[in-house]
């Protein structure tokens, strides 16, 4: 992975973390998990799969370090989601709508896993008011954002203006 790509990914992750913890923490209807979405969309780029898993782990760890839940919880969840994304990414580049649905389904798997593992480890802080609504709202928001931004994101990270043109 080139230095330029590293810097681009680091900046995108930082922006995602700041936006998620400020802007999207105050909106009740549109509540994406931006950092998880970035981890998913990284799987569509040409970055080596092993590195993508590592980046997803680091992204999850960063959110863990900022949150109140146990350290490593989101790191595990994001890594598993990235693995599923890497295994299914061939099906995602058929069209823009499919990319959105693919990202939404992976997010759904991610949030279910987050709550499951979180509950097993006694993380009641994740189970507050509206948790059932969030199970659906977060994947839908991620689906919309992936529909809009996934091609742009891949072109930005890969520095390839022809990527994801859905020819």
């Amino acid at each position: 992975m080139r230095l330029r790509t590293v810097i681009t990914v680091a900046i995108v992750l930082l922006v995602a973390i700041v936006l998620q913890t400020t802007l999207f923490s105050q909106t009740s209807l549109f509540t994406p998990d931006l950092v998880m979405l970035v981890a998913i969309m990284l799987c569509l780029t040409r970055i080596r799969p092993e590195l993508t898993l590592g980046l997803a782990f680091v992204a999850g760890l960063a959110v863990d370090l900022l949150g109140s839940a146990v350290l490593g919880l989101r790191a595990i969840v994001f890594t598993v989601v990235a693995y599923l994304a890497l295994r299914t990414r061939e099906r995602a580049d058929i069209g823009r709508v499919i990319t959105g649905i693919w990202a939404g389904l992976l997010t759904l798997a991610g949030v279910v896993l987050l709550l499951l593992v979180g509950t097993l480890f006694g993380q009641t802080v994740l189970l507050g008011e509206g948790v059932v609504d969030l199970l659906f709202l977060v994947p839908i928001a991620n689906m919309i954002l992936a529909f809009i931004f996934a091609p742009l994101f891949v072109r930005l990270v890969d520095r390839d203006s022809t990527a994801f043109r859905y020819a």
Partner: protein, 308 residues
Amino acid sequence: MLSRQPGDRTLPTLVTLLVIGVLLMTFDIRSEGGGVTGVLRTGTQSIVAPLQKGAALVVNPVVDVIESLTNVATLREQVLDLEAELADAEAQVVALQDDMARLELYEELYALEATGTDIGRTPAQVIGQPDAFDGALIIDKGTGDGIVVGQPVLDTNGYVVGSVQQVTPVSATIVPITVGPGGVAVAVGNQIGTVLPQVNTDVMRLDLTAEEPVFAGDRVVTSSASVRFPAGFPVGEVLADAAPTGESLTTEVAPYVQMETLRVVVILAWPPDPISAITPDTTTTTTSTTLPEDGSTSTTSTTLGEDG
């Protein structure tokens, strides 16, 4: 459904990262947020907090405008309701003025001094939340402003919000009482018990050691038995009438604090001086019962008093 190619090393990488993740979780739980993981958290939050503060300066007004636009339809009714409440409150103030004058007279006669008002208060702005699922709040004050782990947090009306879980030089993380992890020792009238968070709702469960029933609308306040909060701060109100079965009673409590609209909180410097609190200068002994704040078993402890 899933595709895999020969020579692919993603599966070993995944397993390795999962093992590291589980080890981190175990280590974090065993060290109770301290040690290396605590240093890591503090370092990361110190780096990100200035960016969050900057973003909050831009984001908060935008969110407020959007919220006010979406709420414009109900604003007229809210104004009418608030005007009625204001009129009631003003009438109560007038009624209380006589009582206040009488109280001041008695305080002068008996040379009384008010206690409990000398607790230091630090207002702070809520700048964010870790993610949609994490109920914790991030505030813009930290150790540099005298905030320490465990301090109680109220909203601007004096209602109990939660307590400080993590603190950095420039920011702190607050865990609301509505998401746990433990409960809060409370009192309803002269009966004491514990409120505990519940899943998927802000409504809390109230377990009381009760001899008398409680009624809907009864005020729930922090108990003097609490080790996390000073006594007498309002937590919420009882939602439904409940009568004791045996020596206990269980019902639900609606917290007063509105988490979704919380923008400013107040951190209490409590206990005011933990060192003097445990090194009494008299030999008088008093006995107090400490209620468990985790909803499990009860314990009794004896402490030395300072009121010799």
